[in-house]
């Protein structure tokens, strides 16, 4: 089963290889992601996030509380480089919402009996029942890869400038983070992989060692001088690693 839909402003593609998994399992995934968009998008004036930002929410929902707690955890862990409440800007927890919600969507698939699937939400990926070969988009050539990973049950997220340009700000300076060209993190869940990749990108060059020190995280990073750094445990597919 394969499905592609545009949700939350990016394309989400789903591939489930188990033939006994019904189409409605995929429906549930896209329904959930549309629900997340409606509830947590800062671009929708009626979302809970927008209403909270305007001081109109007294009791934050358990889901949003979980997201905001994660945001705060990463703000503290990065010394403020990752911050969803930047001065002069509205509350924007998108970086955490994306990984968190797609990981939960993967949980819906598992609960529906899916054993081998690949869920790619705008370049952030959860796979199960591998081996899956996941290419990492080259930071400068949209049609090329800079490495290939071989994953079994894992999540991978990449933060890079790509077509959005300097969209990740360093909360310590309020300026765009430019120390890295790309930061790819593999972790047990996309909640971790996406948050760590975004936070490390905001940290800049020091984010490489920071992300590598996070428990369970493997790192593939390209710095502004086009040097590549990866942790020894990064599951690079055989034959694709460049010479050291």
């Amino acid at each position: 089963m394969r499905r592609v839909e545009q949700v939350m402003g990016f394309p989400v593609s789903l591939r489930v290889d188990d033939e006994d998994v019904p189409e409605r399992a995929a429906d549930a995934v896209f329904d959930w992601l549309r629900e997340v968009d409606a509830r947590f998008s800062p671009f929708r004036p009626d979302s809970e996030v927008s209403r909270l930002d305007r001081g109109e929410v007294r009791d934050v929902s358990a889901d949003l509380r979980e997201v905001l707690d994660l945001c705060e955890e990463y703000r503290l862990a990065t010394g403020g480089a990752f911050d969803v409440r930047l001065p002069g800007r509205g509350l924007d927890p998108c970086a955490v919402v994306k990984g968190w919600s797609v990981q939960r969507a993967a949980g819906l698939l598992t609960a529906a009996g899916a054993r081998r699937f690949c869920l790619n939400a705008g370049g952030d990926v959860v796979v199960a029942g591998g081996p899956w070969r996941v290419g990492v988009r080259h930071p400068e050539h949209a049609d090329r890869l800079c490495t290939v990973l071989e994953l079994t049950d894992a999540a991978v997220a990449t933060s890079a400038r790509y077509e959005r340009g300097d969209h990740i700000l360093d909360g310590r300076t309020g300026l765009p983070a430019t120390g890295l060209l790309g930061m790819t993190v593999v972790a047990p869940t996309l909640t971790e992989a996406d948050s760590v990749a975004t936070a490390a990108f905001a940290l800049g060059a020091e984010g490489i060692a920071w992300a590598a020190a996070r428990p369970g995280c493997e790192v593939f990073a390209v710095d502004a001088e086009r040097r590549v750094f990866r942790t020894a445990g990064m599951p690079v597919a055989p034959g694709t690693a460049a010479a050291a």
Partner: protein, 133 residues
């Protein structure tokens, strides 16, 4: 001095999570002084009072810090000993350095933001979805 020691222990407890985020570049042990059985006598100077903490044996290993006081306030804290423990070792990630190169390969999916539809159309992921449909 007796009153200073609990302050040091609390400081150590507060520092433990920080190790993971501030990896040193060298070895995991930064011990420069032999483990002191007791806190050292404060050595005063114009820039503050330097006090070595006692070696505290935590579940992760021995910890010793050096604290500089400016009057009653802690001005800085430096690690003299850190536990030689897997969790601390992980704080010094070994990074393999490579050169960036472009490659193509037989893949199932692509990681890397494909935010806009225009970008997506150009992206490899679109080709893969088209191929598999």
């Amino acid at each position: 001095m007796k009153r200073a020691i609990p302050v040091l222990v609390l400081t150590v407890a507060g520092l433990v999570p920080v190790w993971r985020y501030e990896p040193s570049t060298g070895t995991t042990s930064t011990a420069r002084a032999a483990p002191a059985p007791t806190a050292s006598a404060p050595s005063g100077s114009s820039s503050g009072t330097v006090v070595k903490g006692t070696t505290v044996h935590t579940e992760k290993g021995p910890v010793q810090v050096e604290v500089v006081f400016q009057g009653e306030e802690i001005a800085s804290v430096r690690m003299l000993q850190q536990p030689d423990h897997p969790q601390t070792q992980a704080a010094v990630p070994k990074l393999i350095e490579e050169t960036l190169r472009a490659q193509s390969a037989d893949i199932d999916t692509v990681s890397g933001a494909t935010i806009t539809s225009d970008g997506y159309k150009e992206s490899l992921q679109a080709a893969l979805d088209a191929k598999g449909a």
